[in-house]
Point group: C2
Chain length 384, copies 2
């Protein structure tokens, strides 16, 4: 079937109109920065001109202060988290620090942290940064080897749900169970899976998770991240970033810190309302679509990408698995110069060293014609 | 002189038009949340519709990635920091954690952190949170007693430049010198002084400082904070929130962390561009005014507040010092019910437990008539 036919039959095709995208551009980097939902600009205008200007300080009582928990609970259904376990705040890196710091506190006597050796580097840097203060050993392990590598020495392990280079999707139930079998806590990084595939944090018994909102959730460049703390740990989730926003009664201005009874204790400083509001507006899209439909289209876009490569560029070195154990990207060996040449043709992907071209497939707005065009572009820059 | 006459002679009176404020409201809480600069809404619209939508991922290379340092250097002149020592990122609480963590690392063998006993509580919570991981003792000391209390055991001391309850301005040169005399590092919290009075961090030899941008800098609710690291410490500023944005070469995706050579090493996660852009737009006001003129008007507004109280409400219990060793607020004993009654009359201040009404004086938009109205309101709610 042609790309145009596939687009014509795509039940999500109409959703693209929700985004402010130039039709002449094939944007295939939604796995790095999501496209702007049209409603974000209007929402921010409203927050600034009506809430901030209109209500001034009083707006904090009109829903601003609780925005982190409220928006967290809007992300909950996408990650299989019942209400009250997810909060939007800080960056992914800062939230991972909280999660790992809390994890090692819960695991006295265990002196090791395992880190997905293929994860986005920031996760490893954060584990190293924490370990520099706590004295833990950080060991980098391929996720598939994680259950075998974990032992009674392992306090916690961080795994990225989707490999940011290859797009490989890791087995959350099996890895989580494997870690739990030796008493290690499982911390998942959902940056590359949230908003494209169904996730079952509660169902898998995951302990903690973090993720960003600026990729497939389209919350804006560097938008606030989220953190999930399983209900069973909420009472004992103790991290050192004990800013006033995590206090049980912040406006009492007590000199002693007592963490909030719920997920709010994962908060640190004053929430950034403009940034939060952009995330909130971007999440409205989930009133229109289901994660199952998004997942189905994402796999179909990937399958179509592979078919086009097989047909038009059989020499391509493809890093992304063809089976469904993958996220929503296709990675092909290539050079930074090729990426630049593609951009000149209106095809926007990204490059990761040393030699990977990544093409993100964001089902809310990526078209089959974008995939076809990317492969034609690759043919041109890799064989032309 | 009447309030109207004072407003008519106010050289900063015209600046109020830069803000989106209802003329019928006397907004006296700019020390908690600054008023919205008109240009912020337009700037965000531009960032979303032109930069994000127009350039997509490529906008990161067009100035987004370096925004934290660039905007930090715009704050530099307000805090007496030469270029390259200030960066905008994260929240004040998170930045204070970085500063204290780096300070205790620089001071092996010193087992104590002093915290301003009157500081905004979050600072103490953060010190306690860090100490819970490092084993340091946290001791709360009144800032005026800080030099005497510090000893060779003291790794660092955190002092708030302006007491958030009373408005007392603390003596930065004397306290900093006193701490240095025993080898302790001085960490200043500038939340309540930045944007209202001249600060000389470099001149005072301050080691580290943090501050927010959502009070007198008008960057928006919960806007990103800043952190200052004195040049002499930049090479050795090691904090544990080692996210990729602080890496010397983040896009190399190395598995090892090497901090940036400059102030960038104080960054952690991906910068929030929408939030940063609001701060950036709000800082444009400093192209029109000088901090010296702002300071002069702030003291004059305070003096006028005291005069009105003396004349109209001599029974008022005033907590703010009358000498110029004060920030830009006047605090009066009162109740939450009185605050609410004032709000019903269009006079917006805030309440801090157990019994303090605070009235912020933001010279960029506060009018003498606002002060007069506040005092008339106080007369009514406290004696009526």
């Amino acid at each position: 079937m042609s790309a145009a036919d596939l687009d014509a039959r795509d039940p999500l095709a109409g959703i693209r109109a929700e985004f402010d995208l130039d039709p002449a551009v094939s944007y295939l980097d939604g796995n790095s920065l999501g496209a702007p939902p049209r409603r974000v600009a209007d929402r921010l205008d409203d927050v600034i001109r009506k809430q901030w200007a209109g209500r001034l300080i009083q707006a904090w009582d009109d829903g601003w202060w609780d925005a982190p928990e409220r928006i967290g609970d809007r992300i909950g259904p996408l990650i299989g988290a019942a209400a009250g376990q997810t909060v939007v705040c800080d960056s992914t890196s800062v939230n991972l620090f909280k999660a790992l710091a809390a994890a090692v506190r819960l695991q006295p006597g265990r002196d090791e942290i395992l880190v997905d050796a293929r994860t986005f580097p920031s996760d490893g840097y954060i584990a190293d940064g924490l370990a520099g203060f706590t004295g833990h050993t950080v060991r980098r392990v391929d996720p598939v080897d994680m259950p075998a590598a974990a032992s009674e020495r392992t306090a916690a392990a961080v795994v990225n749900h989707v490999d940011y280079v290859t797009g490989r999707l890791h087995d959350m139930p099996a890895i989580t169970d494997g870690l739990h079998a030796v008493g290690a806590l499982a911390v998942w990084d959902l940056c590359h899976s949230v908003g494209v595939l169904p996730i079952q944090l509660d169902g898998c018994g995951v302990d903690f998770a973090v993720g960003c909102t600026y990729k497939f959730l389209n919350g804006g460049p560097g938008a606030p991240a989220f953190i999930y703390v399983a209900r069973k740990w909420l009472d004992r989730f103790e991290h050192p970033l004990t800013g006033w926003a995590g206090h049980r009664d912040p406006f009492a201005m007590s000199s002693d810190y007592t963490g909030s009874a719920g997920i709010g204790r994962a908060r640190a400083g004053t929430p950034d309302i403009l940034a939060m509001s952009a995330v909130d507006a971007a999440l409205d899209i989930w009133d229109l679509v289901s994660i199952e439909d998004v997942r189905a289209k994402g796999l179909a876009l990937g399958d179509f990408f592979f078919e086009c490569l097989d047909e038009l560029l059989p020499s391509a070195s493809v890093l992304t698995p063809r089976d469904p154990a993958r996220g929503h990207q296709v990675s092909v060996a290539g050079t930074a110069a090729q990426l630049k040449a593609l951009a000149g043709r209106g095809i926007i992907g990204d490059f990761r060293p040393p030699n990977v071209l990544r093409f993100g497939l964001a089902p809310l707005y990526t078209r089959y014609v974008d995939v076809e065009r990317a492969v034609h572009g690759l043919v041109s820059v890799q064989t032309g």
